[in-house]
Structure formats: structure tokens, C-alpha cells
């Protein structure tokens, strides 16, 4: 099967990209910016993407006196000779003819092809060579531009080794891509997922833009996912029961947990400091209970005097902390420790999704719960890793924590103080990494963004958001051009550790029966067998 030659190299540079003169037989409108190209050099093959297209003329008088366009004979002759197209191509990877190079696969390109080297659109076998074939480490994520039937894979192992970001305006498909990533991580078993599902998209069932139901992780992998809930009623309405309910007792809430809510609760700096003094005064496990139980009209002044605080500060703090009390999942004493329960599942390799139910739009609830639980779970992971003292068999399984609306947790002001900032910076030292889903990357602390190993982004219209996503990425200028031209749905630019080179893909479908089967959703017979096996895994062999 011969592929038509795209053109030949006629100039350019390593720094700014090579110029390919488009073959006159190639229809210019068939060439897509962002699509993959292969260039055959003398001893190496180069792979890269098209980053720009330029219309040029051999004589500038073409601009002032163009040929008569009603004369197809002349126009056709001049297109391709006096008027021609130059495609800018950036070589990212190369593979030489030598045996060990073929073994290792493509490496970052350190040289360029010579003049007149032939360029071709990348083929299926090129895709497999560059990105790897689907296997236990590689997840099929979508198809490259112009090659709708090819399966392009990401290296899932490398993906979970560092934190990942999924960005895009609302409605672009971030949720779908996240579902695919989570399902893939689950299916390939490279890590365990803990998802803080603010909008109830990932756990049981979500909807697509047409309003049709889309299966969540629990429906795809019923015996390997535990659904936790903050709002039992939402489950009851759907006639499903969660595997566990999360309740947070006052005793679990520390001043650190209040500090991260400063912006949401509109707490002054003084108020935040006051919480620490309260904790000192009453003790870590009692302070909130005690503080909330006092009558603000009578006892506040007394308390203010003992703590050496302004009564107004304490008064404002008291009012605002009342909001916490009003959250139905916050109780004086919790029936059981949610964190312990979650950890039990995680340790057995069961993935946990915490649905927020009626709190789907409540940022206070989301930030509060996500931060608190993560902080304590992370603590445990640190302890376990330190105790294992390098013995890998004793270390906990890798954990991926999915959070949405990250720009509320990770603003430059508080990123250094939150657990998420730490996790991003630790880079998996304690086997925990993040999967951040967000539509305003410009709101996220730059340092945290630069710690993201892989970034997946749909179209972003805001210049500052584009800057943020590309911060610290190599070849940002060229990526910028590609990013600004993405289709508004289903086209994402992915770059970072999980891919050998930045690539634009059309994400695979999720929501059809075929797509579910791809993730292993079995028919009834296999399903029964799988259920029995999963039950054994979940509950152990013995009775």
C-alpha cells in the first residue's frame, strides 16, 4: 500500500521547524495542522507534527496581479509552481536504521533531515511504532488527526508516575476523557483510584451533552469500585445504594482544614490564626465542638479575653463556621471514621468514588471534604512508605486522586499550604499522585502546573489559560498554534511523560455499548464468573 508523498524538505531549521513544499498533487485542504508526519532521511526516520501552513509565491507580483481565476487552465498550472504551499514541520522523534535504535524505539530527534528528504503523512504502523500498541501498560486513548481508524496509546504507567492535568472549557469533553483515563487505570491495574466526584459524573452514572445516560465506574466495574456518598438521599432517589456513607465528625477537623476554606468562607487572616489558638486552648479534638457550642452573645467576650483575640474576629469566625455545621454530613460525632473505611478499600485495590450528591455545586463542601480526606489519607501513605523502608513489597499500591475545579485548591495564594500542592511537588514519593480536572488553569499555581507530568487539554479560549497550560512545556510556541486551532469537541492536545511527543488526538468514544465492552464490560455469562471472582477478592476466600 503506497502512500502519496506529502512533499519534500526545502528549508527551515531545527529551532523553528522545517519547511516542506507541498506536492502539487496533494490537495491543500486535506492537510491538517496538528497531524502527524514522517520524514525519511538518509539514515533515520523522523516523526513530528505539522505546526503551520504558509501560502507562498515565487514572485511577489502574484499578490498584485494574480492570474485570472476564471481560467482553470492557468490557475491550475500556477498552483504548485509559482504559487505553492509550505508546511512547517517540527521533528520531535527519530529512529535510525541501526539495530539497537529499532529495539528502543524512537528517541527525541537531535538532528534534522537534509534538503529534499521526502515527507509522508504518518501511517498506522508509524503510530504503533511511536506510541506503542495496546497492552497492559498502554491505554488506547483516541486517534490521531487524519487517521480516524488508528489507535493511539498513552503509556499509562508513566502517566500515573506523576500528576496529570486535564483542561478545557466546560462542555469540551474533559469529563469523558477523565472517565476513559479512570477506566483505563482501573482496567490495566496500574494504580488505585480515589475520585472526589463533585458533579456525580464518575461514580454511578453521568449524562452526555444530549442528556443520555453514560455509565460510571461503578456500572463498568461493579465489584472493583466502592461508591461512597455524602448525601444518601441522592442515591435513594436513583434506587441505588452506596457502599458507604461519609460523615465527618467535629473531632476530625483541624485548623489546617479551616485555613484552606479562608477564601470560600471569607475568613480574614486574623480569623484563621484564631482557629489555631482555639485548638491550642481547647485541644485538637475538642476545639470545634466547644467553640460552636458557646453562645456568641454571652460567652464570646470572655473567650476573646482568654485568647487575647478581638471579639469581632471570634464573632465573625463563629458565624462562618456555623456554615460548616449546616452541612448534613458534618456531625458532632461520626459513627465511623470515613478515612479508615476508605483506606480499607484502597488497600485491597478497590477503587473509591465519593459522590457529592446534592452538594454538586457547593464549593465549600467540595473543598472542605476533599482537602480533609486527602490530607489524612496522604498521612497514612507517608507513614506506610516510611515504614516499608525501601522494601517495595511492603509499600502501598500507587494511588491516583482525582479532583475537579482544582483552581480553587491550588491558587498561588494557598497552593503552598494545601495538601494538593505538596502531593504535586512530591512527585509520587509517597505513591500518591493527582489527576486534576479543571477549566481555568490560569488560576492554578504555576509551580504546581509545572509539576504535572502529563497535560491533556481541549480548546481553551482565554489567552491566560493557554499560557498556563503550556508553561514550562518544550516547544510551547508551536503547541500554542496547534492548541488555538483545536476543534471545540473531542479534540485534545496531549503532551508530557505519557506520550513520546505532543500529539493532537480525537478522543475515543465513551458511552456506546461497544465502548463499554472495550473496557471489559462483559456479557452476562462472563459477568457472572467475574462477579464470583471479584467477590472472592473483595471478601476473601473463607467464610
Amino acid at each position: 500500500m503506497s502512500i502519496d508523498r506529502l512533499g519534500i524538505i526545502i528549508g527551515g531549521s531545527w529551532a523553528n521547524g522545517l519547511d516542506i513544499k507541498l506536492n502539487s498533487s496533494f490537495e491543500i485542504e486535506d492537510v491538517i495542522v496538528g497531524s502527524l508526519v514522517t520524514v525519511q532521511g538518509k539514515n533515520s526516520r523522523f516523526f513530528g507534527i505539522i505546526s503551520d501552513m504558509v501560502l507562498e509565491a515565487s514572485d511577489q507580483s502574484l499578490r498584485s496581479s494574480p492570474p485570472d481565476i476564471d481560467d482553470p487552465f492557468i490557475t491550475k498550472i500556477i498552483s504548485g509552481t509559482g504559487a505553492f504551499t509550505v508546511i512547517k514541520f517540527s521533528p520531535h522523534l527519530s529512529i535510525t536504521n541501526k539495530a539497537n535504535s529499532i529495539l528502543h524505539g524512537p528517541e527525541p530527534a537531535l538532528t534534522i533531515p537534509s534538503h529534499f528528504a521526502s515527507a509522508f503523512p504518518a501511517s498506522d504502523s508509524d503510530i504503533n511504532l511511536i506510541y506503542g500498541k495496546e497492552d497492559e501498560k498502554h491505554l488506547w486513548i483516541g486517534s490521531p488527526l487524519g487517521l480516524e481508524d488508528s489507535r493511539l496509546c498513552i503509556d499509562l504507567e508513566r502517566l500515573v508516575q506523576r500528576s496529570t492535568g486535564v483542561f478545557g472549557r466546560s462542555g469540551t469533553g474533559k469529563t469523558f476523557l477523565t472517565r476513559i483515563l479512570l477506566a483505563g487505570i482501573l482496567q490495566k491495574g496500574v494504580a488505585t483510584n480515589l475520585v472526589f466526584d463533585m458533579h456525580n459524573d464518575y461514580g454511578y452514572q453521568g449524562t452526555n451533552e444530549k442528556g443520555n445516560p453514560v455509565k460510571g465506574l461503578k456500572l463498568l466495574f461493579p465489584n472493583r469500585v466502592a461508591l461512597f456518598s455524602l448525601d444518601r438521599d441522592s442515591f435513594v432517589r436513583r434506587k441505588v445504594s452506596p457502599d458507604a456513607e461519609v460523615k465527618i465528625g467535629y473531632a476530625e477537623i483541624t485548623p489546617d482544614d479551616i485555613r484552606i476554606l479562608a477564601e470560600t468562607l471569607d475568613l480574614s487572616h486574623l480569623a484563621v490564626e484564631a482557629t489555631y489558638r482555639l485548638a491550642q486552648f481547647y485541644g485538637q479534638s475538642n476545639w470545634l465542638r466547644e467553640f460552636l457550642s458557646i453562645d456568641p452573645r454571652d460567652e464570646l467576650n470572655e473567650l476573646a479575653k482568654s485568647l487575647n483575640e478581638f471579639p469581632s474576629t471570634l464573632g465573625s469566625l463563629h458565624r462562618k463556621l456555623e456554615r460548616l455545621k449546616r452541612l448534613s454530613f458534618v456531625t458532632e460525632t461520626a459513627p465511623e471514621d470515613a478515612v479508615t473505611r476508605i483506606l480499607e478499600y484502597l488497600n485491597r485495590g478497590i477503587h473509591v468514588v465519593l459522590e457529592f450528591g446534592k452538594y454538586y455545586d457547593d464549593y465549600l463542601a467540595y473543598i472542605f471534604v476533599t482537602n480533609l480526606l486527602t490530607r489524612r489519607i496522604h498521612e497514612q501513605y507517608v507513614r506506610r512508605v516510611e515504614e516499608s523502608m525501601g522494601d517495595q513489597s511492603k509499600e502501598p499500591r500507587p494511588l491516583v486522586i482525582t479532583i475537579e475545579e482544582a483552581h480553587r485548591f491550588l491558587t498561588p495564594a494557598i497552593a503552598s499550604q494545601t495538601i494538593f500542592g505538596n502531593i504535586a511537588r512530591e512527585m509520587r514519593k509517597y505513591k500518591v499522585s493527582l489527576l486534576i480536572v479543571d477549566q481555568r488553569p490560569s488560576g492554578i499555581d504555576e509551580e504546581v502546573l509545572s509539576q504535572l507530568g502529563t497535560r491533556m487539554t481541549y480548546r481553551l479560549d482565554n489567552e491566560r489559560d493557554v499560557d498556563a497550560v503550556l508553561a514550562g512545556a518544550s516547544g510551547a510556541r508551536e503547541l500554542r498554534r496547534v492548541l488555538s486551532r483545536l476543534d471545540s469537541r473531542q479534540q485534545a492536545l496531549i503532551f508530557g511523560d505519557a506520550l513520546p511527543m505532543p500529539t493532537v488526538i480525537r478522543t475515543r468514544d465513551y458511552g456506546t455499548n461497544e465502548s463499554y465492552q472495550e473496557f471489559g464490560l462483559k456479557n452476562s455469562v462472563d459477568h457472572q464468573k467475574q462477579m464470583e471472582q471479584d467477590a472472592k477478592d473483595l471478601f476473601g476466600d473463607g467464610e
Partner: protein, 199 residues
Amino acid sequence: MLSEHKSPDLSRIGEVVEATSISFTVHCYELHLGAPLGALIKTDTPEIFAVVNNVSTSSIDPTRRPVARGQDEKDSDSVYLHNPQLKKLLKTEIHALIVGHKDNNNLHQYLPALPPRIHAFAHHCNIDDLRKFTQKLGFLPLLLEGPPTLADEITSAFLRQAALTHPDPDSFLFTSGQEVAQLLGNDLRRLNSLLRRLK
């Protein structure tokens, strides 16, 4: 026999009376005929191909110019009828640009080492010759040489005639148009006007 003898005669135009490395002049046997502008002609031994780029008729004696004779005649044919000596006093010459030559049956589309001899016979090229010659277009730079407007006229005339000998004339014109476009790349106005003449 007679017909065999006739064929070479029919294709014969005249004899070379002036020759340089890039062109030659043929004195034609027939007055006012010779070969049209843009036609492909060839000399014999050695076979040298050239394209007619000028046809001129003038007095044989450079000191005696023709004068008007037909004031009382009804048309110019009658002038010739009533002045039979004119045919001996006038000559037609064609000037042609060399575009190639054959050596040992190999056709080359570049200038020969030596021009044709004086008195070499010049012949028309038939359809076959023209088609074979224009399978390749390497001679184009030679034709496009010189004052642009004239060169463009000659080139387009030649290509138009050559196209008719090919099985797909439109395709030939297109391909030759592309070749010309490569050569005139930095002068798109000239290219445009030449291409217009190609149809």
C-alpha cells in the same frame, strides 16, 4: 519509384544559407511558403532540429527594393500573373532557433557542437517527428531565450502545434505549461501571458 522520389522532395523546404551556433537561415525554394512560425524543421546529416522564429520575404538584390506594380490590376494575384519575373527577383527566407540534434540516433535537446553546413537541406518535420521530439521538454530554455515577447509568441506557437500531435493534447499543454512555469517562476506576469497563449 516516382512517389518515393517525390516524398523527400515534398518535405524539403530549402537550403541553409547562414548558420551560427544558436540558429540558422534557410533560403526557401518556394516563394511565400517555407514554414510557418513556430514550426519544427530539421537539417540533414547531421540532423539538427530548429524552430522557425522568423519568416521574411525580400528582394534578392539588396540594392533593388520591390516597387508597387498593381495600380491598374484588380488584385495582387494579377500582379504576379502579369509580372512573371517577380518570382525570380524575390526570395523567402526563414530563420530558426536550434533546439536539438541527433547523434547516432540519440536525440539531444541541447545545442550541437557545430552548426549545419551552408547548403545543407532543410526539411519539414512530420507529425511523428514532432511528437517524438516533444516527448521531453528540455529545449524550452533555448526557446525562451531572447526578447520575451517574441520568445513567448514562438514558444506558444510551437507548443500549440506540438500538442496536436499528441494523443491527449490538453494534457500535453498542461504539462508543458508546468514546465514553463518552473522556468518563468520569478516573472509571473510573463508566465501568465504566455499561458494564455497556450490555449
